[in-house]
Every structure is written in structure tokens, then in C-alpha cells.
Symmetry: C2
Amino acid sequence: MRPAGQNALLEAARQEFAERGFGSASIRNIAARAGMSLSAMYHYYSGKQELLHALLDEGMDRYFGSVTAELTAVGGDDAAPADRLGAVVAATTRFRAEHATRSNILLLEERSLEPERLEHYSRRQADATNLFREPIDAGIASGEFHTPYPDEARRGVIAMCNAVAQWYRPDGALTLDVLVDRHVELALTLVEYRPQRSFAARGR
Amino acid sequence: MRPAGQNALLEAARQEFAERGFGSASIRNIAARAGMSLSAMYHYYSGKQELLHALLDEGMDRYFGSVTAELTAVGGDDAAPADRLGAVVAATTRFRAEHATRSNILLLEERSLEPERLEHYSRRQADATNLFREPIDAGIASGEFHTPYPDEARRGVIAMCNAVAQWYRPDGALTLDVLVDRHVELALTLVEYRPQRSFAARGR
DNA sequence: CCAACCTTCACGAACGATCGTTAAGTTAGA
DNA sequence: TCTAACTTAACGATCGTTCGTGAAGGTTGG
């Protein structure tokens, strides 16, 4: 459990960074939004950079939590590759829509990290990519996915999901549940998912 | 034809904005990179905002130029929807790779525009979206594209192309020509392009 | 032809504002 | 009494912008 002041700071920083971008954001504004003085902020975080770092880390924690929850819900490693890919796509799409500002900071402010901090973040981002890579490669190996370009298909699926944070508006005509289903279908289309017929599975 | 000083300024601003982001960019650095004094910059542009605006406008001009050139190369409006979509995807993918810094500014710094300038830019971005929408909707209407979700497929294709500006490295193992071909194939897969058989076309 | 004038392009200096950061001191609870 | 939580005040640096100046070059009027 985080102290209340710390949560208020993270929330305030999230709003400020999302609205103005890291470079134009003012830590004075952030402290004011959190209802405390500028120096009080320094009691929790050693500077603007660490604030961003904490924000990105917290966002990653939440994202991985969402995806792994969805993965275990469909059966974890026992599930078929198509179901695992569907779970990752569904969780990612939903996360990008439900935590749009969080996601936009994750996706846009990576470059504002100093080199040392960036290294740590890049590792986590590689882990996130592997969430997609694993089921796709498994589907290729098992013969259920037929795309000749699994790497480019993976990048395409990830880009499709991530873009949701930029364009989706919950007050629009498109329901999130509907969008999630369609993204799962589109992802399976992109990897050319065709369930093996039973006689083909038994053949050989 | 633009004056030499102006081109140097745009190039310098492009580098600075791409490296540090609009908010953290310093117009003093930009002027220094362009080899002129800070005040000389104000002779060409009335401020930091107008510099960004000019940069985005120039990038858009180049992008539309690339796409329309590719479109006319495949036959313009006379070409089949699949060929038109392929041309747009190919030109966009190539542009994102060949003009990565330009593209990243186009894609990331939109939010740094002031409201009035943003309005003008959003209109151009809508035009860019229509470059994809037109052939996709035409392909649906003609029965060559079978996806039940043309809107989401369009967004997916656009996101896939745009992401190239972030991850593609020309010194990597993947040739740009190969990537372009794969992206065209993936886009046609996503819209579920299936050429009509001749007898089916003659049927009815 | 020439002098007066204007525009273009460039310079250094300075403006007030805001930035991130730090120092020193105060309060409140365990 | 110790420590976490928080304050006000100030630091130096840098920011975007403005001002006044002037060299260079072409145009105009006499």
C-alpha cells in the first residue's frame, strides 16, 4: 500500500505529463495538483526524472497484471495458441482504452527517460513484446497460424492494440466490448489462424 | 524554392524536436544548429510554435506527395481497390522508414500544437486517413474485401504502417523493399482480400 | 549618375518569467 | 526525542521573446 500523498503525486504527474508532455510539464503544477508544496514532492521523489520513472514502472505493473490475469483466465499455458493470443490482444486493447492517459505516457514518454533509466524500461517493454511473440510463434510451430511473416504480423497486432490509446473515446458509438472482440478477430486474421481439421491432426 | 537559411532552420528544428521533444527543445540550440543567431531565426519564423507548425506542414506535404505519386504509378482511380490499397500501404511504409525523424515528429508532436494550429493539422490528418479509407471501402463495395470490420481493419493497417517510424532500422537485416512487400501482403490479409473468380464475376 | 530610401538578413543584449533543485526551518505523531 | 511530512524562501540557469542596431543590395526619384 502506497502512502496517500504518493498516490496523489503519481496521479497529478500522470495528468500533467499527458497534457503537456514531459518537457513542458512543470513539477510546480504537479505538486499543486496533488495538493502539496513543491518541496513536499521532493520528499517522495528525488526529481522530475524519478517521477517519470515511477510513473512508467507503475503503468507497466498494471499492464502486466491485466494481461497475465486474462491469460490465466483462459487457462494459462494449457490454452491453445489462438486463445492465448486472443487473451493478450483482448487485455491489451482493453487496457489501452480503459487507461488511455496511462498508456499514452507509456507509449510516448519513453524517450524522455535518461539512458540508465531507459535501459530498465526497455527490458520491460521487451517482456511485453514477448507476450505477443510467444503465442504467435507457438501457433506457427503447431501449424494453426499460417502467416509467412510472424514478426511483421506481431508488430502489426501490437501497433493496432496500442493505437487504441490514441483514438478510442468511450463516449463514442463503439462499445469497448465490441472493439475488443473485433481486435481479437483481426489479430487472428492477420496471423492467418485456421483451426486444424481433425482428420488432418490425426494424419501422420 | 525556399531560402537556404530557412531550410537549414527546418532541418535543425527537425533534429532538435526529434531528439528532445518539443517541450524540451531550445530554439537557441535550433538556431545554433542552423548556423545562425537566435534573432535571425525570428526573421523567418515568428516563434517556436510557428516553427513546429511549418515542420508539420512540410512533413505532410512530403507524405501526400509520396502517396499520390505511388497511387498514380499504379494507375490512379482506374486501378483495382487492392492495388490502390497496396500503393498507399507501400508508400506509407516506405515514407515512415525513409523519413523516420520526419514521421516521428508528425506522429508525436501533434499534441504540442496550439488549438488553432491543431485544427488545420487535424484536417490534413483526416485527409491522410481517407487515403486508406477510400480503397478499403471500395474493395468492400466491390466484394473483393471480405472483412466484416473495415473501420477497425483500416485503423490496424494505418497503425502497422506508422509504427515503422519507431522500430525500423535501415542497418538491420530486414531490407526496406522486403518490408514494404510484406506490409502490403499483411494489409490485404487484414481486409481479407480474395480476388473474385471470373465465373463468379459473370454470375448473375 | 547619384543620393535617398526600403527591404532583407543578421547581430548582440537584455527583458521578465519560469524552470529544476536545494537549503533551512517547522509541525505532528510514535 | 527521533523521524516522517511538509513548509517558505531562495538559488542559478535557462527559457521564449523583444528591442535596437546595422550591413548589404536593389529600387526609385531627381
